[in-house]
């Protein structure tokens, strides 16, 4: 199965050349060392020449060799290369053994396929096998912790939710920092697909279809993608068919999803007590012992009655745990089927899958059905075709995406006043509730529909024509097309929507994104020593996004949910946006006996996004590498498999801004008295052009003791210059900002990858893969000599700092919250000047540690992932930890730790109605009180699997049977007090990650 999956059409094709100028023929058969089966598609090459031949369906081959025989090189992706001196033999039979190391060393760069030993660029690879059968909805999530320099953050625990990927830090301040994703040659649109809940365009790809993921990190590796490459490039290659007997694989898995944690909040009795104290403290401060009502009343009695009227008597009030109402144990299941096979001319891979995962919060789920056909066809020796067709249907139900929304279950459940029951005595929902959190969150979550259905295809077609030996022309067309329908229904049974009779909103979104390229490849080896290759090409890409929205209100009842039943048609609107880009590129490579490497890339790109004056940009990179292990002076170091120094420098571009950012615009939208109006929305900048990332990379690859110890260290420095910066304008101009090219951001870091086989004896194997990244980010320059823009952007500081005043705890004498002012003195009234840098969002260090234990058919994989050195603003706690200043439920420390008596040392101020003691800034300020370190280590994955013995299953005509159990996000170590430390920015109503347990079976025959 494995070798079939690893077969690569392009790779073989590039080496298949006509034999010429030789005088005798050698034949033979290539077999799999493990199974003894004939291996089709193995490249048999006469060393130092372009003479090569592939093996046939039975593994047989025939090749012409010079009269002295020469040396034959047998290569197949995923197998150890073998070189055999022919001598006088006329038959050479070879057994190829699979080579785990080599599997991980095959990388795809740019528009070709090469071995990692050649390029001098920095790339990270995650093989499909690593993520096989992981119950994640999108492959980007599976990259987390697996690749050095690649920071992956789940933005939401919503199944199928958004993922943020940053390759080597954050270079842009205002332009996008997402890498370019290319799936089988198709430049796909990433980001969210729906407005109903957190979503992800990449979730249309079944992760089990993926052969490998390559992250191109430095300019040498990525610059061939020029203008889109500044944030790195992620290349996804899907599995391909293999000629021979058709192989079937079926796998299925079932499991559960549950919450990781619940917030500890006050009970109804505790909250009522807090409010009694809060109101008393407030009224006593203002009025003393009597309140000047008519007639005057005793302050204590008056405020106690006020609080009890609203929140119940602490002695008798009943508590409702609202969090319990919205969480559940969700079910997850995935079923995968694939078949692959073919003959010499045609090979196929057919796969189908179904995945459904319920979230741990009610009503949130994700379901996906996919089908894929990957087809390779060789018309004749010169012409080949390749097609990848993938279809996916995804259906996602969710809740309102992350934010401080009172109809968000994860945000509001802990904040709803707990003295309110879920149901009334007659069994109906108790709604609306009192206070700001007026939705009965269970009712609304159950009755509101927030659904997105997407039909998507990411497909590509490619033709390769051999013009002459070593010269190929190939043409590719790829399309990423997605139709999404968002359905939102607000039920008239929910009181907030009763008056309007319910509301339905349909949003149809269509994304058409296509790209096409034509390339010319040339490969030639001179004098068996000088390897030369050249690539020239041209590429064009266009993306169009359109939406149309219709909304209606006034439904006969909650049973009617489609626009057809709406009495009152409401807003109808739509959007349209598009961009186009095109470029030409060339790449030249040379190496001297695979010892010294030289590589250069040039790309000239234009984009419609930029100003008429500056549409085109030139991008380039150069790289050198030196394989020290091939030097004579290290010839005796036989333990050395590979030792290579790499150095590269290059310039790549970023254009991730709004498609019409360079234009001065009057936009439509306003309405008055039934007439539609316009409004200036943007100032023009006809000079707007590419943001440039200049990357210097120094790397060292090593491999010792037959790959028992291998790894790489990369040191990089990337300066993003002429940033696409939304230059802040004084808003008295009528505009908030204008796009400009200004500013410099530095990212630098060290990435270490270390892979070891610690034990390999007696059938027991223990191997470790470890990667860690240390990174630093600094704004070097803004515009016009400014040292800061607003409070968040400061020269000398990272992008995205936390800029807040420092909380000084509670005055032990009177229980008031204190802060430090700009001079470091205690203050009660904060000024803007009192804020300072209190942390950065970008982690300073992150990494992953995977340990794999294998004994006979049994394997155990333990994978930890961690992130360190970042801080976050726990924005939820602004609402939940404010000394009962308002009527939101509070975290329990607000009750247990509150200041009550003079002399008491605590961080929780005394309860105070309104939260603002006279002439103080009070508790409603963002400060270091809410700033928390969100470093964490997570036991991300634990998989125990058993491959049934061949002797047992071969009787049932099966080739492989694997049973497994696994868990995701099993344990988290963190000091962070919120729901989930895995955050890119602030925690505010964020759907937290869940814990998953599952078990499954995979059968091949």
């Amino acid at each position: 199965m494995k070798k079939a999956l690893l077969f690569s059409f392009v790779f073989v094709l590039a080496l298949v050349t006509q034999a010429w100028a030789q005088n005798r023929t050698v034949t033979g058969r290539v077999t799999d060392a493990q199974t003894g089966e004939g291996m089709p598609g193995v490249t048999v090459q006469l060393k130092g020449t372009t003479t090569a031949s592939p093996t046939d369906v039975n593994g047989g081959y025939e090749i012409s060799v010079p009269s002295n025989g020469g040396t034959l090189v047998f290569t197949f992706i995923g197998y150890a290369k073998q070189e055999i001196a022919v001598g006088s033999q006329s038959t050479v039979n070879v057994k190829l053994g699979s080579d785990a190391r080599q599997i991980s060393e095959i990388v795809i760069t740019g528009y070709g396929v090469q071995e990692k030993l050649e390029p001098a660029g920095s790339t990270a690879r995650v093989s499909g096998a690593t993520i096989e059968n992981l119950p994640v909805q999108s492959f980007d999530r599976a990259l987390q912790g697996r690749a050095a320099g690649v920071q992956v953050t789940a933005l939401s625990g919503q199944p199928g939710g958004a993922i943020n990927v940053r390759v080597r830090g954050q270079g842009s301040i205002n332009a996008g920092n997402e890498p370019l994703y290319i799936i089988d040659g198709v430049m796909v649109a990433s980001g969210q697909t729906s407005g109903q809940s957190s979503s992800n365009a990449l979730s249309s790809i079944n992760p089990n279809d993926i052969e490998s993921m390559e992250v191109l990190k430095d300019a040498a590796a990525a610059s061939i993608y020029g203008a889109q490459a500044a944030n790195g490039v992620v290349l996804i290659t899907t599995k391909r068919g293999k000629s021979g007997k058709t192989n079937f694989t079926f796998s299925g898995q079932e499991g559960v999803v549950e919450r990781i944690k619940k917030l500890d909040v006050t009970t109804a009795a505790e909250f009522a007590e807090l409010r009694i104290e809060a109101l008393y403290n407030q009224y006593f401060d203002i009025y003393g012992p009597t309140v000047p009502t008519n007639p005057v009343q005793d302050t204590r009695t008056y405020t106690r009655n006020l609080a009890i009227a609203a929140h119940g008597d602490p002695a008798t009030v009943k508590n409702t745990d609202w969090q319990e109402t919205i969480y559940r144990k969700g079910r997850l299941r995935t079923y995968d089927f694939s078949a692959n096979g073919g003959d010499e001319k045609t090979r196929f891979l057919l796969s189908a899958s179904y995945n459904k995962q319920e979230g741990q919060i009610l009503k949130s789920d994700f379901a996906r059905a996919t089908a894929r056909l990957n087809l390779d066809h060789k018309v004749n020796d010169r012409l080949s075709f390749l097609a990848n067709i993938s279809l996916a249907n995804t259906k996602q139900n969710g809740n309102i995406a992350d934010g401080a929304f009172i109809n968000s279950p994860q945000f509001s459940a802990p904040l709803i006043l707990p003295n309110q029951p879920v149901y009334r005595e007659d069994g109906s929902f108790n709604a609306p509730l009192a206070g700001a959190f007026s939705y009965n969150i269970l009712q609304n979550t159950l009755l509101e529909l927030r659904q997105a259905v997407t039909n998507q295809t990411v497909s590509s077609f490619k033709a390769v024509y051999k013009v002459a030996p070593g010269i190929f022309v190939s043409a590719l067309a790829g399309v990423d097309f997605a139709d999404t329908q968002d359905d939102n229904y607000r039920d008239p049974r929910v009181p907030q929507f009763a008056a309007i009779g319910g509301q339905a909103t349909n949003i149809n979104r269509r994304t058409l994104n296509w790209n096409s390229n034509v390339t010319l490849n040339y490969n030639k080896t001179f004098a068996e020593l000088h390897n030369f290759s050249a690539l020239v090409g041209t590429e064009y890409r266009e993306e169009t996004r359109e939406t149309s929205t219709a909304q209606g209100e006034g439904f006969p009842s909650g049973q009617f949910q489609t626009l057809a039943s709406a009495a009152n048609p409401k807003a109808v609107s739509g959007t349209y946006t598009t961009y186009k880009m095109g470029g030409i590129f060339t790449n030249l490579k040379y190496d001297l006996g695979e010892k010294y490497f030289l590589s250069g890339t040039l790309r000239y790109d234009g984009s419609s996004k930029f100003g008429a004056n500056n549409r085109f940009g030139l991008f380039y990179a150069g790289a050198v590498a030196w394989a020290l292990n091939r030097e004579a002076f290290l010839a005796n170091a036989t333990y050395l498999d590979n030792l290579k120094l790499r150095l590269s420098y290059g310039v790549t571009g970023n254009s991730n801004i709004d498609n019409f950012a360079s234009l001065g615009l009057l936009g439509s939208g306003p309405n008055y008295t039934g007439t539609s109006g316009i409004r200036p929305s943007q100032l023009p900048n006809p000079d707007l052009t590419w943001e440039e990332a200049k990357t210097l990379n120094l790397g060292l690859d090593w491999s010792f003791f037959n790959s028992r110890v291998s790894g790489a260290v990369d040191v990089y420095r990337r300066n993003n210059e002429r940033l696409l910066l939304a230059r802040q304008l004084p808003t008295d101009t009528g505009f908030g900002s204008v796009w400009e090219n200004a500013g410099v951001v530095l990212n630098e870091g060290v990435e270490v990858e270390l892979n070891t086989v610690n034990v390999d004896a007696g059938g027991f194997k223990w191997s470790t893969n470890f990667n860690v990244t240390f990174q630093r980010n600094e704004i070097k320059e803004l515009y016009g000599g400014l040292q800061n823009i607003g409070t968040g952007l400061r020269v000398g500081q990272p992008i995205d700092i936390l800029w807040y005043p420092e909380y000084a705890g509670v005055n032990p004498a009177d229980g008031r919250p204190m802060y430090y002012d700009s001079l470091g003195n205690i203050t009660y009234t904060l000024r803007a000047r009192d804020s300072k840098v209190t942390g950065q969002y970008l982690p300073k260090t992150f990494g992953g540690l995977a340990n794999s234990f294998q004994y006979k058919g049994l394997s155990l994989d333990v994978f930890f992932q961690g992130s360190f050195g970042s801080k976050t603003l726990n924005n939820n706690s602004y609402f939940m930890a404010n000394s009962a200043g308002t009527t939101y439920n509070q975290t329990r420390d607000q009750y247990t730790e509150r200041w009550t008596t003079p002399g008491q040392i605590t961080d929780v101020p005394r309860p105070y109605g309104g939260g603002t003691e006279p002439n103080t800034s009070g508790v409603f300020n963002f400060s270091t009180k809410q700033v928390e370190d969100n470093s964490y280590i997570r036991l991300k994955q634990l998989t125990l699997a058993y491959n049934l013995p061949q002797t047992l299953i071969s009787r049932a005509k099966l080739t492989n049977v694997r049973v497994f159990v696994q868990g995701l996000n099993l344990v988290t170590w963190t000091g962070y007090s919120g729901l989930d430390p895995e955050l890119l920015f602030n925690e505010i109503g964020t759907y937290p990650q869940g814990k998953q347990y599952s078990g499954g079976l995979s059968v091949s025959f």
């Binding site: 206070g435 700001a436 008056a499 306003p670 008055y672 505009f735 904060l830």
Partner: protein
């Protein structure tokens, strides 16, 4: 298949794109239809909930002593009620956006050479733009600056004056605040032009700027500057202009009905809301905040008992309130914004004739020599009261009369965004109501002025922050 025959020279054509929801800023206003649409856009900007949609109407009453939040509430007005440091009306960016629109309109009309556009239309559009610019600047200057002559510590900064449109980034320069007197002078200049530009024939509707509204606004602006004679003159002309269009104070019998009539017969300038496209909904509408007309309303904002007890029993304005309970609390809601344009939707009067009469009364009272009680002022006040079934005021001193007028403004204009500014323009302290348990705000307190957004001050070194922030 896939052959992209692409050469660099043809690349430029292949890279052409154009937006569909927008038109070009530099050419979009050469056509009169663009100018008309932009003017519509300015009215739209007044409708948001942070402006006349809700906050500009309620916050000045909540920050002072007319209105309060219910015990259980959505927390929307907590900081206003407590006069929390830093929480004030924030209209900086919003109003300047609209001001730039008006600047664009005024310039586009001046440059319009299309012979098919009538002089009358050009005059009307310019007059509307200047009327709106005056309204926008007056709201800015009363939020961010002291009234001329009422400065605390001599702080006389007004706001930044921009009278030329910004269409290029080179025009987006940094400016300092003009003095309050300069801003008021510009407002008066715009209103003078607007009044001259409006004719009775080119007036479109009470939902748009018009001559009477411009005169009334001029009266209001004069009142804020204590230019009593000018306030009196323009309140008189506004009343006369309105009368010429059959508009006068409604009778007591028709008072309640006036609030369900569209436009309100007393409105000189009323913001129209179309429910289907412009409603502020359950979340932010005045209707949701102040009444329980519709299920799902917030019902957060109610009168203080002190205010309610100021109404005489027969006063028709007292009958606008009705008792209800919210949670366990006995409260009163109001029928001024009762969802008359549909669910959670009302028209919002920005200038009503009764305000003009109260301006007139106050000007007359102030113009009386020495400590005399102005007969005219008392008559004007009692004329209004008689149309509310309230008994005539008997004033013994000039101060009594002025106080009576200020009380009358509370009674008449509650929910319409005046109380905080009335106290401020007269240099009076805010005495918080016992029901809200908050400390009083002396006139000298920095919180009487709103803070200029910190980001603006940070960006523009010429922009001085208000004292104390």
């Amino acid at each position: 298949m896939g052959a992209t025959a692409l050469s660099v020279s043809s690349c430029d054509d292949l890279l052409e794109t154009a937006p569909r929801q927008s038109i070009a800023l530099d050419t979009g206003l050469t056509d009169i239809t663009g100018v008309r649409a932009l003017l519509i856009g300015v009215y739209d900007r007044l409708q948001v909930n942070t402006y006349y949609g809700a906050q500009m109407m309620l916050a000045p009453d909540v920050m002072a002593d007319n209105l309060r939040q219910t015990a259980s509430n959505s927390n929307r007005y907590t900081f206003f009620q407590n006069n929390s440091f830093g929480t004030q009306l924030n209209r900086w960016a919003g109003n300047y956006g609209a001001i730039n629109d008006t600047n664009l309109i005024i310039e586009a009309i001046a440059n319009n050479t299309d012979p098919t556009v009538t002089a009358a239309e050009k005059a009307r559009i310019t007059a509307e733009a200047k009327f709106l610019r005056a309204l926008l600047y007056h709201d800015l200057v009363r939020i961010y600056g002291y009234e001329p002559g009422k400065e605390v510590g001599g702080f006389n900064a007004g706001v930044i004056l921009r009278l030329e449109p910004v269409t290029l980034k080179s025009e987006a320069d940094f400016k300092a605040r003009a003095t309050n007197a300069e801003v008021y002078a510009q407002i008066e200049k715009d209103l003078t032009d607007a009044i001259a530009g409006f004719t009775t024939s080119n007036q479109t509707s009470w939902f748009r700027g018009n001559k009477a509204a411009a005169e009334a606004l001029m009266a209001r602006v004069s009142l804020y500057q204590a230019k009593w004679q000018q306030a009196l003159d323009f309140s008189n002309t506004a009343i006369a202009t309105a009368a010429a269009r059959s508009k006068g104070l409604v009778s007591a019998a028709n008072y309640a009905a006036a609030w369900t009539t569209l436009p309100n017969p007393e409105s000189l300038f009323e913001l129209n809301y179309v429910q289907a496209t412009e409603t502020l909904g359950a979340n932010e509408s005045l209707n949701s905040l102040t009444s329980d007309t519709y299920v799902g309303a917030w019902r957060d904002i109610v009168p203080t008992n002190t205010l309610f007890n100021l109404y005489e029993v027969n006063d028709v304005r007292r009958a606008m309130f009705y008792t209800a309970t919210k949670g366990s609390e006995a409260v009163r809601f109001n029928k001024k914004f009762a969802g008359n344009q549909g669910v959670f939707t009302d028209n919002i009067p920005i200038i009503r004739l009764s305000e003009v009469h109260l301006i007139k009364a106050e000007a007359e009272a102030e113009l009386a020599a020495g400590t005399e009680v102005s007969v005219a002022g008392l008559a004007t006040l009692n004329n209004l009261r008689s149309r509310r079934d309230a008994s005539p005021v008997v004033a013994l001193t000039k101060a009594d009369l002025i106080n009576a007028i200020l009380v009358e403004r509370r009674l008449e204009l509650v929910y319409e965004g005046h109380r905080f500014f009335d106290l401020k323009r007269r240099g009076l302290d805010i005495v918080k109501d016992p029901q809200v348990a908050a400390v009083n705000i002396p006139y000298t307190d920095p919180r009487v002025l709103a803070p200029i957004p910190a980001a603006e001050v940070n960006l523009n070194s010429k922009l001085k922050q208000n004292p104390g922030y």
